[in-house]
Amino acid sequence: MTTPALLLGHPLASQENARYALLTMSRIRKFEEAVEDLFGRGMMHGTMHLSIGQEASPVGVCMALNLEDQITSTHRGHGHCIAKGADPVRMVAELLGKENGYCGGRGGSMHIADVETGNLGANGIVGGGIPIAVGAALSSQLMKKGTVVISFFGDGAMNEGAFHEAANLASIWKLPVVFICENNGYGMSSSTELAFNLEKLSDRGLGYGIPGITLDGNDVSAVYEATEAAVKRAKSGEGPTLLEFVTYRWKGHSRSDKNLYRTKEEIDEWKTKDPILHFEHVVVERGLLTEADIAEQHRLATEQVIAAVNEAMKGKPADPAGLLDAVFKKVSA
């Protein structure tokens, strides 16, 4: 896996980057379609939160990062994980409860972390990762790492006290963190109209002295540019930015969701704003990629995901014998 940002000047400036963006968005989508299928066939356990329709955000954001830069993710974290460079084999293996899964089968979809690619972990607690991101940013500042930390969270998470306390600390200490609100319109069934008395959720930054920007979260290029600027600001010691990416999840909140709180029309309407299709149009229009290039990226993505699933299936089921030993890190002598 190459480190995306190293490839990049501007996201649309090179074929290589355009291909990378498309391939990665496609891999996220195919990955989630594949695990949804496995889940539907009863081969996976637990719950699952799909980010289909939201792929531009993780990809655009992570393309603006270096490998050393860190992220914290959410319950809806497959995209963040893949975009930051995780190994899909170990992801699927985790979902299948295998020993070679990222968490050795102990965490599942909501707890995948990948230290090597700077992913400090998904989180099953809404808002739970936000103060953690701020803490990692404090480490960066104290240790003069020169890195940034991205805190991904949903619109719903902004109403948790954790957001509030973390945002204030980041602002007063000018920490190198970027708050990224993936506003998909709903926190489970709770619409942003009902949960907020605000036009733009990015205005919530005003209460902390944090600049806030709202933009189209389905435009990978816009996402990249806004992130790059916020990252630069963070790394130069000017403190956090709050980016609100407006997007939509096509699937239900989780498997048990009957979608009673929104209309089919609304969902269909948003499908026309597919971030992947949107990006394809742009790159073709600008003559950056051909239709064949595009098809090739999707083919590659499919191939990679199928290979990952097949490989993951071969893993050994996690063994209960190791549980007690896994609770504490051993005290080194």
Binding site: T47, R106, G108, E160, G161, S189, A195, K258, L260, P317
Partner: protein, 332 residues
């Protein structure tokens, strides 16, 4: 009605519906309890029947929700709060413990907090460590809270109605594996109340007294049916409320069986069930014991994700059979 084998979700919903009908001051608040019908479907159609004022969807703000409920309870209402997973009570612990539990006492009795906090507890759905805890021990060690753990649909309905009647804060812990299972007893259609603080003798047997709550009642019952075949007969006592805890039936049973086994899903270390052991060995039953007390509890690990790990982490029917058999056989 002769055949009313409801699920626990249905029974809980029925209790709330009765309370909503009986008392205008009852209302429900929580995340996704409206149109969505609740994360586990417990509120179901109540939103359509009672409207959005009384079945009040909230943003994702557990601390705010519980605090709001405390304030509403202080000033004339009787809120029922639903917290989707008991793990998220961690977000609201200040309002639960430092406010709700203590206000009546701290202010000298002039205020009280008639609040019910319902929440889904326990493991078994593959939701992993942040969605599967059994936290009854936290609440039990906080004076000022009542703590209820229903073990069947029939029990759930009667206990919830009593909890709503109670002028004090009640933590109502519903095991998520029980929600969708139909009970074996009929659930009467109208109102009935099961008083808080009265243990239930679920079944009687001569050899061993087992104390368990919630899902463990189901598992002990299954184990007991197996052990019956071996001629080992179990008395099962379900305290139903762990605060207050009614020990009389346990003492009475131990006078007959002389053997005690306690079972819980929560991690063994520092778990609530130790209270039962402590009362027995410091209390009137001590002289009746003819075998060492035995306890069976969850492993001291966060709840893992993979099904084979998750099962291993908490007592299963086979574990209960094995341990119960051992104590009876070894101490004939």
């Amino acid at each position: 009605m002769s055949d009313r084998k409801l699920t626990m979700s249905e029974a809980l919903r029925e209790a709330m519906s009765i309370a909503l009908d009986e008392r205008p001051e009852v209302f429900i608040l929580g995340e996704d309890i409206g149109i969505y019908g609740g994360a586990f479907g417990v509120t179901g159609d109540l939103y359509h029947r009672y409207g959005k004022e009384r079945i009040r969807d909230t943003p994702i703000s557990e601390l705010g929700i519980v605090g709001t409920a405390v304030g509403a309870a202080l000033s004339g209402m009787r809120p029922i709060v639903e917290i989707q997973f008991s793990d998220f009570t961690a977000q609201a612990m200040d309002q639960i413990v430092n406010q709700a539990a203590k206000i009546h006492f701290m202010v000298g009795g002039g205020l009280h907090v008639p609040l019910v906090l319902r929440t889904a507890s326990g493991s078994g759905t593959g939701a992993a460590a942040q969605h599967s805890q059994s936290l009854e021990g936290w609440f039990a060690n906080v004076p000022g809270l009542k703590v209820v753990i229903p073990s069947s649909p029939y029990e759930a309905k009667g206990l919830l109605l009593s909890a709503i009647d109670d002028p004090n804060p009640v933590i109502f812990l519903e095991h998520k594996l029980l929600y969708k299972v139909a009970g074996t007893e009929d659930v009467p259609e109208g109102a009935y109340r099961i008083p808080l603080g009265v243990s239930r003798v679920v079944r009687e047997g001569k050899d061993l007294t087992v104390v368990a709550t919630g899902i463990m009642v189901t598992r002990v019952l299954a184990a007991a049916a197996e052990l019956d075949k071996e001629g080992i007969n179990i008395t099962l006592i379900d305290p139903r409320t762990i605060s207050p805890l009614d020990m009389e039936p346990v003492y009475a049973s131990l006078a007959k069986t002389g053997r005690l086994m306690v079972v819980q899903e929560a991690p063994e270390h520092g778990g609530f069930i130790n209270e039962v052991i402590a009362r027995v060995v410091t209390g009137p039953s001590l002289g009746h014991l003819i075998a060492p007390v035995t306890r069976l509890a969850g492993m001291n690990v966060p709840i893992p994700y993979a099904p084979q790990l998750e099962k291993a982490a908490v007592p299963q029917v086979e574990d209960i059979i094995k341990q119960a058999r051992e104590v009876v056989v070894n101490w004939r």
